[in-house]
């Protein structure tokens, strides 16, 4: 039992905006009152629900591939030493699994969504998530380039595709469905890409990216999954791609969707020399489409490594930068590409990217629909979130930062004109309440009675960046895991999984195809539920 007393509480889901009130915790949940137990005097602090990351890459074959590729990054990053409470490891752009848990919890974040999981290597992803302590985990399975599904769409068999998709979601022990560059990664298997939403995907006659998007969004909604289709649009990173993004919003009409890392999809111009921000057009369209949520995918200057299932884009990035290139095509399902990258202030393209991430956060009017992410590690490592919070809350600081950009860049962006400053209440929305709602986790992202007792307590100081980087206390599931800036108690997290209903006979359809196209026994394909740490299974019974 625990009582947090005297803190200023920001709990947007319950409309509590900086009220001084007690938070009581018993058996891992928020309760109305407790008698006895420990009391934390939180006078002079602010109290937030634990952070929720709606889009990050923290586990699995692709990230682990990246780890092997960048020993030079590990060497220059601060090591985390073994203590009596925690294991040693490496931080940097691709932290080791245990350190990932410590770093997230260490800044008050308690739930993460691993955004890209192939079914074929999902067992690996779950093993890594199991070794990621403290935080609760969800993950999204990659589907928009799954050839069994694409073949069904080509044949017009939408109903069967729905059952196959549901089977696959459960096979991967996933929580949501991810679509990356729909059709483009399948085309990449022949070294091609899918750039036009309404042009057939190479290798198909009828399947277009638009059809894949519409079909998957419909399937996700039809199955009643708690999180909408998690969509990485076509043409990521390309100048002029805002048109594709606007068209995608139209294709989605009527269905829910979460547009991942919107920053990478809001560029104008014709080429790298004329690239500019189109965040205003994207934000306007987004504001009008209430069926959508998004995350920023903001960029910060510095070294990182880019990891995405978008294979063709990574080949281009390798050709542009001449740096290392990792590529891993996953049979019949998806691919991934890895390129180390440095975002530089004086680089026009990078300056536009940096500005667009912030512009979208400032121009999208409903904080409940846009969430703080860097598409870790693509835009920057997740442990740099406090820097973005500082930029959002302080317009003067932002203007100061603009001075570092090349003067030419200022004509390509809107940021100098934006005066909006985020309030603490809004920060609590974009870092916790909003993403929890989008993920469909009713016990997360708030401090109402019955919520999971995931709480972050920060010293109330004017130095916002420091405040959000170093919480005073972090409580996960009712246990105090961090005190006085130090991890002192490492608890295990949970794995959230969905089990949508499907016709069991669909297995008879999948098995022969699997035996023909894959290279392992069908029995070894689905991940055993025992592989998950503390699985919480949602059977999607609220289906409408």
């Amino acid at each position: 039992m625990l009582r947090i007393t005297g803190g200023r509480v920001y709990d947007p889901a319950n409309n509590i905006n900086g009220e001084i009130k007690d938070i009581c915790i018993s058996d891992g949940r928020i309760v109305s009152d407790v008698e006895g137990g420990r009391t934390i005097d939180a006078t002079g602090t602010i109290v937030f629900p634990g952070g929720v990351d709606v889009h990050t890459h923290v586990a699995g074959a692709a990230l682990n591939f990246a780890r092997a590729m960048i020993p030079e990054d590990h060497r220059r990053s601060a090591p985390m030493l073994r203590t009596a409470h925690r294991r040693g490891g490496i931080g940097g752009s691709t932290p080791t699994t245990f350190v990932t848990g410590y770093l997230y919890a260490g800044m008050g974040w308690t739930t993460v969504n691993e955004a890209a999981v192939p079914i074929l290597s999902a067992r690996h992803t779950h093993e890594e998530l199991r070794d990621t302590p403290i935080v609760d985990k969800t993950c999204c399975v990659l589907m928009a380039n799954n050839e069994i599904l694409l073949d069904l769409l080509e044949a017009g068999e939408i109903e069967r595709a729905r059952h196959v998709a549901a089977w696959q979601i459960w096979a991967a022990k996933a929580y949501g469905v991810k679509a990356v560059n729909p059709g483009g990664v399948a085309a990449w298997k022949w070294g091609k890409d899918a750039k036009g939403l309404f042009e057939p995907v190479p290798g198909y006659d009828k399947v277009t990216p638009a059809k894949i998007i519409a079909a998957l969004a419909g399937i996700v909604d039809g199955l009643g999954l708690p999180h909408p289709l998690h969509l990485h649009c076509n043409n990521l990173g390309a100048p002029g791609n805002y048109n594709t993004t606007l068209e995608t919003m139209k294709v989605l009409e009527g269905n829910r969707a979460h547009l991942a890392h919107l920053q990478y999809h809001a560029y104008g111009g014709d080429d790298w020399f004329t690239m500019k921000s189109e965040s205003a057009k994207i934000a306007d369209a987004f504001n009008a489409n209430k069926n959508l949520t998004t995350d920023a995918g903001a960029v910060l200057f510095g070294d990182t490594v880019t990891i995405t299932a978008d294979g063709p884009w990574q080949h281009l990035l390798y050709k542009l930068t001449g740096r290392k290139w990792g590529n891993l095509d996953v049979e019949n399902e998806t691919g991934c590409g890895i390129v180390p990258y440095t975002y530089k202030e004086k680089n026009l393209v990078n300056a536009v990217q940096w500005a667009v991430g912030l512009e979208l956060l400032l121009l999208i009017d409903d904080p409940w629909r846009i969430y703080l992410t860097t598409d870790h590690p693509n835009g920057a490592a997740f442990w740099r979130y406090p820097e973005i919070i500082h930029l959002l809350m302080n317009a003067d600081f932002r203007r100061e930062q603009l001075k570092a950009l090349a003067p030419k860049a200022l004509k390509r962006i809107l940021l100098p004109e934006l005066d909006r400053e985020y309030t603490l209440f809004e920060i609590a929305i974009i870092t916790s309440a909003g993403p929890a709602r989008s993920l469909g986790l009713p016990h997360k992202g708030h401090l109402g009675i019955g919520a999971d007792a995931d709480v972050a307590i920060f010293n109330d100081t004017p130095d916002v960046q420091r405040m959000f980087a170093y919480p005073r206390y972090v409580i996960k599931g009712g246990e105090v895991v961090l005190e006085e800036g130090e991890i002192r108690n490492v608890v295990e997290g949970r794995g959230y999984v969905v089990h949508p209903s499907y016709d069991e006979k669909v297995e008879d359809y999948i098995r022969p195809l699997f035996q023909q196209y894959y290279t392992m026994s069908f029995e070894n394909y689905p991940v055993e539920v025992e592989r998950l740490e503390n699985p919480h299974i949602n059977s999607c019974k609220s289906e409408g």
């Binding site: 090591p79 294991r87 490891g89 070794d131 070294g191």
Partner: protein
């Protein structure tokens, strides 16, 4: 330069029309490779199986794998790097010197034909073995081959994959990466992982005599390592966990017999393309699994006072 352009084995089965093995002898060392993944299987886009594929073997001698190949290219020993460099030049349309090419054991015509075939393939794959990665040039040979594969993607689809073996070495590599950030050669003595192949790899530690104890799991260094390394293992307390008595067991202070993973113990094995496969043991064993033994050792060690590396240098410096 750097990185790796690769895929899972099913992509090779479904798409590869040009299969190159370099410095390896799969017919004898990976006997199921041809039939399960690469040559003889029919694939989604390779309807006629073997007839739709071309296989090239590059090696310093004619091994039994050459029988399976359409083209066998015999390279002079220690000239792999030169051949790869010549191919990288030809692929980009640059000229190469005929006399220098001849030193590799191949003619310019052979090299040009090889480069053309790679560029004209729809989906090509380069498998490379220890005949490339562990001979003169070592990691530079691997880097040259991986660069060739990456650069070919400017023309067509091309991937590369090392022919790994030795049980679950890939699994060890994968797990070391997620727990320490590095694949091998990791030193944890300072309380955090440090990586330096050549300094912290097992052979180097043993040759210098840096370690004062050894726990050997799923390996038989007593049979494969250089004699001075073996001598050091015999000098220090060495504990070996293995289902059978190995060369290493004989020089160990303690040998603990464990259940054989995959036969009488469950677990996970990572295929050479890093796809994890669950192991379902058909038999029961009277012996504990490796995991049980390690957990019990850890439990006993954990009773000792916590040792932490010094964060500050001592007064003595």
């Amino acid at each position: 330069m750097g990185g790796k352009v690769t895929c899972t084995l099913g992509e090779v089965k479904n798409r590869a029309d040009l299969i190159i093995y370099w410095g390896g002898n799969p017919a004898e060392c990976h006997p199921r490779h041809f039939t399960k993944y690469t040559l003889t299987q029919k694939g989604k886009f390779i309807p006629k199986g073997r007839k739709d594929r071309t296989m090239i073997l590059v090696d310093i001698r004619e091994t039994p794998s050459a029988k399976a190949a359409d083209i066998f290219l015999q390279v002079r020993p220690n000239k792999d790097f030169e051949v790869l460099s010549a191919l990288r030049a030809l692929v980009k349309g640059q000229r190469i010197d005929a006399a220098r090419a001849a030193e590799t054991g191949l003619t310019v015509e052979q090299l040009q034909d090889f480069a053309d075939r790679m560029k004209q393939a729809r989906f090509g794959v380069l498998f490379f073995g220890m005949g490339l990665s562990m001979t003169r040039g070592k990691h530079m040979n691997s880097a040259a081959l991986l660069s060739l594969a990456a650069e070919l993607n400017a023309f067509t689809k091309f991937v590369a994959m090392p022919m790994r073996g030795h049980g679950n070495v890939t699994g060890g590599d994968v797990i070391m990466r997620w727990t320490t950030g590095y694949p091998f050669g990791v030193n944890l003595s300072r309380g955090y992982p440090r990586f330096n192949p050549g300094e912290f790899s097992t052979v180097d530690l043993l040759l210098r005599g840096d370690n004062d104890a050894a726990l050997i799991l799923g390996a038989d260094p007593g049979a494969t390592m250089p004699q001075p390394a073996i001598d050091h293992l015999a000098r220090i307390p060495t504990i070996t966990l293995d289902p059978k008595v190995t060369h290493t067991s004989r020089l160990s202070r303690v040998h603990i017999t464990t259940a054989a993973t995959g036969i009488s113990a469950p677990g996970t094995v990572y295929r050479m393309d890093e796809i994890p496969l669950p192991l379902r043991p058909p038999l029961k064993s009277p012996y504990p699994t490796d995991e049980e033994v390690v957990r019990r050792i850890y439990k006993a060690v954990a009773k000792k006072p916590m040792w932490l590396p010094l964060l500050e240098p001592t007064a003595k410096g």
